[in-house]
């Protein structure tokens, strides 16, 4: 029997989850050329199984593969589409570096990049829906170097076409929730950037038979809210707990009328929010009178990848219980 997602306050995740040791090992082996892409996909699966077990234990309604195969949200896709070369080392912090990808030719879709693990996750999710999650074109563009296009619009449009193709694969396979992650957008909160992304999202989401979601987090979102609210999506998935729900009055002011997935646990804090604290977070959003419980999704601020696994699990468990109580209250 199909799993039925609660009508009010469904719970979900943004996507990433702490990396299991098997996944770290697999990423290392693939990088050193010890294993092929096909072998890589296989040996990441036990890690995905562990993530899914945590989600099911916590009781999350709409889940993900925990992005166990993704060493980095941009590098993962850059390595799997045409047009990118693995870049040289650029510092991320302290003495830590990542190979910032470089666009050196026309970007093109080659073969499914996320489908295998979406299918695998779906096969073990006990019928809970699994989100198809893709790094958005704006973030792909901003967090890589470009030596080919030298024109942001041309590049983002071609990236959008690649992502669109991947989305079609996921939908053909039965995905009902498609999420595009755009963390880079809030770091450059300018109207022209917001409008550039809108054009790209039109390509990605046009005529799709699935729930269309955009995840944006941190930064100065309030500055571009007027330019993003008409994005062709059904749901905005936003960080809120970390910024103390600062966005709510802006959403109200600009007449937010989509579904709202709002962060109720802080992914930067190792402190596990109590059920009570999360209930209060939900109350805060409901008091703002922006969405009704049927359009309110409860979730962490962002991906959980930087947390220790036991803390990530505990946060999800409390989140699910708080959502259950909210269903009784509202």
């Amino acid at each position: 029997m199909a799993y039925s997602v609660p009508r009010k306050f469904p719970t979900t995740i943004v996507g990433s989850y702490p990396k299991m040791p098997q996944a770290l090992e697999a990423i290392k082996k693939r990088k050193s050329g010890e294993i092929s892409e096909e072998e890589f996909k296989e040996i990441v699966k036990p890690a995905i199984r562990e993530v899914v077990e945590d989600y099911l234990w916590a009781g999350v309604d709409i889940i993900s593969d925990g992005e166990q195969a993704r060493e980095d949200m941009v590098v993962y896709f850059a390595e799997r589409m045409r047009g990118y070369s693995i870049g040289d080392w650029v510092r991320v912090f302290d003495n830590e570096y990542f190979r910032k990808p470089i666009v050196i030719g026309r970007v093109e879709w080659i073969s499914p990049m996320t489908l295998d693990h979406w299918l695998y996750t779906t096969s073990i999710s006990q019928d809970r829906p699994v989100k198809g999650i893709l790094t958005g074109p704006y973030t792909m563009m901003e967090w890589s170097f470009d030596l080919y296009y030298r024109d942001r619009r041309e590049l983002i449009i071609d990236l959008a076409k690649v992502i669109r193709r991947e989305v079609e694969e996921l939908i053909k396979a039965g995905a009902q929730y498609i999420q595009v992650d755009e963390p880079a957008l809030s770091t450059r909160p300018w109207r022209e950037d917001a409008e550039l992304l809108k054009e790209a999202l039109d390509i990605i989401f046009k005529g799709l038979e699935a729930k269309r979601i955009i995840h944006i987090c941190f930064g100065r979102l309030e500055r571009i809210i007027p330019y993003i609210l008409d994005y062709p999506v059904d749901q905005f998935d936003l960080e809120m707990k970390n910024s103390n729900f600062r966005l709510l009055p802006y959403l109200k002011e600009y007449g937010f009328n989509k579904e709202l997935a709002f962060g109720v646990v802080d992914v930067h804090s190792f402190q596990v929010e109590s059920i009570r604290e999360i209930e209060e977070a939900i109350d805060t959003v409901m008091r703002a009178d922006i969405v009704n419980p049927e359009k309110a999704y409860v979730k962490p601020d962002c991906g959980l990848k930087r947390l220790p696994r036991d803390i990530a699990r505990a946060k999800l468990k409390n989140m699910v219980e708080a959502a259950r109580r909210a269903r009784e209250k509202y």
Binding site: W89, V90, R91, V92, D94, F145, D146, R150, A184, R220
Partner: protein, 336 residues
Amino acid sequence: MRVWGSVLGGYARSRFVRRVLRDFERGLVAFGDLERSIVEASSVIIGAQVSAGLAYVVDGLLDWHDIFRSFVSSWRNVTPTGLLRYFDNNFFYRIPLFTGEPEATRLVWPPRVKLYSRLSEPSGFKVVIPGPFTFTSMSINASKASFGELASSIARLLESEVRAAVESGASMIQIDEPILSDPDIKKDDAIMAVELINSIIRDIKGVKTILSVYFDVPSSSVYEVLLNSRVDCLSLDIIDAPKRALDLILGRGFGGHCGVLGLINARTIYDDDISRLEDIFGSIIKGYSGEEIGLTTSTWLDLIPYDYSLRKTKLLGLLVERIARSFNLEHVWRVS
């Protein structure tokens, strides 16, 4: 009119430097060996700038993990804590946590100046410090002091850095206030920032001082305040948002300061279009009345790979030469 070039700040680390830093962290390399390696690598970077004909050079700041860290590690009552995104970059700095009034246990710049200024000849050696307003705004203040009091304490420590750096032979002092480009910055913030900067350079004579704002263009009301600063030069990031930058400069000028134009894009790796940059320069120079003008990179060169940071250095040198020739300006390429 004279024109000169200078890279804005720190450089990317070569594979050699990354490795030696990592080995040092793992206890495999002694501090003396680490220092020697950094000096060798910095000499290469200084050489690249000198041979590109840049009048003022930096040492590359290769051992700095972020703009605040060297100061944080040299002061009492402040420690580096969690990571936070550094402006709109995919780079993270450690937030300084102030638990009391900061006190210096040693000076960051004077030993560097003594060592590197000799290697920099005939160019002048540039010292770069974070401005007190950016420093305070991007820190956590868990001390009993107010924001303004903490900022003043930081300014006092930076003032002694700068004074000792000048005595040690620095030719140029650059104070970085990137946060002043943030659209949320108010006029009062800018007034405080400028007062603090003025207090740092009050007694500095015989060297050029620069206030540098980058990652974006300040709002016009903030810029208006910056024009009252007592620094010699105002440095702006032109190429990140050329239209906004030009509107600002053509509308307000540099208020009698020498302008320093961030024209070489330090966040992309393609070769900058020198002709386009000449056009931008041409539109600025028309209404410019100063006796000298500087050209620089849009930000530090530490956000791109090492080889490209060297490439951009060369491009900056080329740009200065091209502009000097096209606009018939005197090209300053040596200071000492």
